[in-house]
Amino acid sequence: MIADLFNLTVLLGILASGIRLATPYLYASIGETFSQRSGVLNLGVEGQMLLGAFAAFYVSINTGNLWLGVLAAMAVGAIMGLAMAFVTVNLHAKQGISGIGFYLFGLGMSNLLFQLLVGTVETVRGFPKIDIPLLVNIPIIGSILFSQNILVYVAFLLVPAAWFVLNKTTLGLNIRAVGENPEAADSLGVSVARVRYFTIILGGTLSGLGGASLSVALLNVFQQNMTAGLGFIAVALVYFGGWRPWGALAGALLFSMVNALQLWIQVLGIPIATELAVMMPYILTILVLTVSGRKMRTPSALTKPFEREG
């Protein structure tokens, strides 16, 4: 039965679902890359994703317009980001713990709203697959890479965009400066507060979008606590990726492939307990963090609040 895994259709199936499953991780970890690069650890990602997922789901079923749902998710994420920015930048709150607070808030709030406003299982007709002309006709890989829904394409395009912004623009330079040496950045006239507000709100927006990609593009339902740790894994992927967008992409793909493999193990009825299969991605995260832990170069000012002298 294990041999079934090495059949070409199955391998391609794993590849295809792996690419789709990478989407929510990508949005969240690209967003988190920005905020950590500016020196802010946002641990509220999971909460932002949950509220985003609910907002997208709820607005979509009530208006019938998926794009309005996506916008709502981004707005909710941005508002959560704004609150996080105020608390960490202006009030110098401990980032790790306040993030957990935002996580609990998002978890409780999305549960509450779901029970009050929806209550039963409902499904959304999610974003349809879009075949990219010509490319989709490439044998074997064409149908895997170029027949996805729009949010998948956007997520993958976000990676080079984020790389460009971080490395080739003044904004990116400012973000990195603020994360490495806020005092120096400040003395050169860069507003540390403004940069951090920007990155945290951007991070929140992308987390919300990541939540939306779960509820209206991948699974097309909302369930309580549907992210089940996905947001925390996204934060771990930022470490794994060495705070670089391409690294986050590699992490997200590795992770989602293992997840897809785990799903296919269940589909094929390979006799491994479901629970043990579901555990694999989490164990993998810990292993990956362990291997990459020693050589890590964290942004110097990560989790350190900045206060102007005088």
């Binding site: 110098h92 306040s98 509450l112 629970e275």
Partner: protein
């Protein structure tokens, strides 16, 4: 003049101590606004919450039953925090502690009750130590962020629990009637923690309170505690002073896990007499691993202050269920509010810090200016905080 200043001091200290209370009131106020939006009278809702938690002997006993694991997890959080590590793994540590202690309780029958209960508690502690120790060692020796690894360990523990409760450890009686409830068999009568009948309040509550005092003594009156705090405050200086920093970083997470593991064992031996879940991630713990963090924060990360804090949050959680029945507002509201309490408490720290620096500068003016690092060493030996 001098008098006026000391008055200001005292007032400042009182305000500092009350900051978490203000934070909770602020969160409840936000909750009230949310209730108004939902067209529910907040006074009716909060009255139901209060009565559900304190309205009768039984209600109050339930509050204390709920507060017990919160306190235990919270004590672990206090230790970890003093060692400057953040333990988000209470959920997983509780689960593993409960799994192991349930297993020994079911495996060895016919022992004297007191003996089995002692073994059960110790095994629970051991389970928590292991589950906290893995992230602890990974942080100390491999530079793995403990926040992330403890969260991952939670997810792994949940899957292990689901695996064992629906498989090897599933209640045979359940299996016979082909029921799918993930639960183990019941512990025999002799193995149950004594209760203060007629309520469900059990001996575990008393154990937790005694442990709170012991943790206080450990942290502020033993060398071990001093070293944990020294490492937490200033790792380079501790290394220079000859303390093996890595070891104490790992140790604070191991100790922290021990308390959560015990919380899990007590939940089995004192409350349910079996391990049972509902398939969700917080099915067994009821989110205690997270809410214990809230309670400890509220108790200003001081073990003794965490006692009343746990009672308060136990009350909120028990009352939330009554509120759900009376005004049909899901108890998830309280979870959301707990999140806000955390945010507000950590945000309000800035006022405490500002006053502290002000106080130091006043002290500097009054006495001779400080020489060297006397401030820092004073902070380390200072009682209570």
């Amino acid at each position: 003049m001098n008098n006026q200043k000391s008055m200001k001091f005292r007032l400042g200290t009182i305000v500092d101590a009350l900051l978490p209370v203000f934070a909770t009131l602020a969160a409840l106020l936000v909750g009230a606004v949310m209730l108004l939006i939902l067209r529910v009278n907040p006074i009716v809702a909060y009255k139901a919450l209060f009565e559900g938690a304190f309205g009768s002997t039984n209600a109050f006993a339930e509050t204390l039953v709920k507060a017990t694991p919160l306190l235990l997890v919270g004590l672990g959080i206090c230790i970890a925090y003093r060692g400057n590590v953040i333990n988000i793994g209470g959920e997983g540590q509780m689960i593993i502690g409960a799994l192991l202690s349930t297993w020994v309780g079911l495996r060895f029958t016919g022992l004297p009750g007191w003996l089995m209960i002692t073994i059960g508690m110790l095994v629970g502690i051991l389970g928590g130590c292991v589950w906290g120790g893995i992230p602890g060692i990974l942080k100390a020796y491999f530079n793995v962020n403990e926040i992330l690894s403890t969260v991952m360990m939670n997810s792994i523990a949940v899957q292990l629990m689901n695996f064992f409760l629906t498989g090897p450890m599933m209640d045979p009686a359940q299996a016979e009637i082909a029921s799918q409830i993930p639960q183990t068999a019941r512990l025999e009568e002799a193995y149950r923690l004594p209760r203060f009948v007629p309520t469900r309040l059990h001996l575990g509550a008393l154990i937790a309170v005694i442990l709170a005092v012991l943790v206080y003594i450990l942290l502020w009156h033993t060398t071990l505690g001093y070293r944990i705090r020294a490492v937490g405050q200033n790792p380079p200086a501790s290394r220079y002073a000859g303390i093996k920093v890595h070891r104490y970083v790992a140790l604070s997470l191991i100790l922290s896990g021990a308390f959560s593991g015990l919380a899990g064992a007590i939940q089995v031996y004192g409350v349910n007499f079996r391990m049972i879940t509902d398939g969700s991630t917080t099915g067994f713990t009821g989110g205690v691993g997270f809410n214990g963090i809230v309670a400890a924060l509220f108790g200003q990360l001081h073990p003794v202050l965490t006692i009343p804090a746990s009672v308060l949050f136990g009350a909120l959680l028990v009352g939330a269920n009554t509120m759900q029945r009376v005004v049909q507002i899901p108890s998830a509201l309280i979870m959301a509010l707990n999140g806000l309490v955390v945010v507000f408490v950590v945000s309000s720290e800035i006022w405490r810090k500002r006053r502290q620096t002000k106080r130091l500068s006043i002290a500097d003016e009054e006495e001779e200016p400080n020489h060297g690092n006397s401030n820092e060493s004073e902070y380390l030996t200072e009682d209570g905080r």
